[in-house]
């Protein structure tokens, strides 16, 4: 591997561990998290119109605790009613 282009391995280690630890701590596999996201989107879509492409849902670490963080932009509904 070229010395100048390779990514330093400590960064790889840290990024990989960040992901692994959050899944270990929550006992939630990446596949389960995906299915949780799908279920969430279905539930929310029953009430409000959202843009599924723009949705961001993920697990974040905060010290020794984890949180599920969701950023779900809503579609502008007033226009549809005005239509």
């Amino acid at each position: 591997m070229n010395f100048f282009t390779r990514k330093r391995s400590a960064e790889n280690a840290k990024e990989r561990l960040q992901l692994v630890l959050v899944h270990d701590r929550t006992d939630l596999t990446p596949a389960q998290l995906e299915s949780l996201k799908d279920d969430l989107l279905i539930a929310i879509s029953k009430y409000i119109e959202i843009d599924p492409e723009a949705v961001q849902i993920g697990l974040e670490r905060d010290g020794r605790s984890q949180r599920l963080v969701a950023d779900i932009p809503l579609r502008n509904v007033s226009r549809r009613h005005a239509g």
């Binding site: 330093r8 391995s9 400590a10 960064e11 280690a13 840290k14 990989r16 561990l17 960040q18 692994v20 630890l21 270990d24 701590r25 670490r61 010290g63 020794r64």
Partner: protein
């Protein structure tokens, strides 16, 4: 005297638990305290060889539990420090020879007669680990700056939290500062950030540790060894002293950064 019971554990094997126990016990004994070490690794006894006491074993911890000897008879006195003792593990294959209740009872008997009881936990998160943490007033987790060791350390920290043993302190063992400087090894800051626990010491990678265990003479007894110095510092912190962290790298501000991470501003 009311001894403090400290358990050294790690999750992953081979990160330096036994070495840490032998060195911390020796350093604390050198400070004039009475220390009893317990090898908690039933079936895979090792603390005796690291401490150079393998030829003195007559009785072990299972002999005490099964009533074949008195507790004092299983306490092997160290060659250099008359106030340091080892209670060796048994080499039995019976994993149920020791229970958490047995460990609590033995540690309670030792409390009135020592300043510190240091328990060497086996690797893993099963029976031996449960035994080792049962009596602990305080737990110290040892890890190396490697993905597998950090991951297992995090599992152990999670179990200790769930068992209401409190948040353990961390010994980061075998840090290679040249690799860290080259960004090819997780730094102390990285590991502390990932694990979210407090640091009690960083031990630099040091050949003299192997030489010490070859001879059965823990490296803290070598005044020139960097790892020995690191263990002496950790031993003082365990005794409640405020010892500044070693400067592992004069070329960067690591020392200051670690001080900050450890909450020493």
């Amino acid at each position: 005297m009311t001894a403090q019971v400290i358990t050294i554990t790690s999750g992953k094997g081979g990160v330096g638990k036994t070495t840490a126990v032998a060195n911390l016990a020796t350093a604390i004994a050198a400070d004039g305290k009475k220390v009893v070490c317990i090898d908690g690794d039933i079936g895979l006894r090792n603390l005796d060889v690291v401490m150079g006491l393998e030829n003195r074993i007559v009785y072990d911890i299972v002999d005490v539990i099964e009533g074949r000897c008195k507790l004092k008879q299983a306490m092997i006195r160290d060659k250099h420090f008359p106030e340091m003792y080892l209670i060796p593990a048994a080499q039995t294959r019976d994993k149920n020879a020791v229970s958490p209740t047995d460990m609590i009872r033995i540690c309670n008997d030792l409390r009135s007669d020592a300043d510190f009881v240091i328990i060497d936990s086996p690797a893993g998160i099963e029976r031996g680990f449960r035994n080792a943490i049962a009596a602990a007033d305080r737990v110290i987790v040892v890890t190396n700056p490697e993905v597998s060791a950090v991951r297992d350390a995090d599992r152990v920290v999670g179990i200790l939290e769930a068992e209401e043993k409190g948040i353990p302190a961390l010994i980061l063992n075998r840090l290679n500062q040249a690799l860290v400087r080259n960004n090819d090894m997780l730094s102390a800051e990285d590991v502390l950030d990932l694990l979210g626990i407090q640091l009690i010491g960083i031990v630099p990678e040091d050949e003299s540790v192997i030489i010490g265990s070859n001879r059965g003479a823990p490296v803290v007894s070598d005044p020139k060894s960097r790892a020995g110095q690191a263990f002496r510092n950790i031993a003082r912190r365990i005794q409640g002293q405020d010892v500044p962290f070693m400067d592992l790298d004069q070329q960067s501000g690591l020392w200051g950064a670690i001080q900050k991470l450890a909450g020493r501003k």
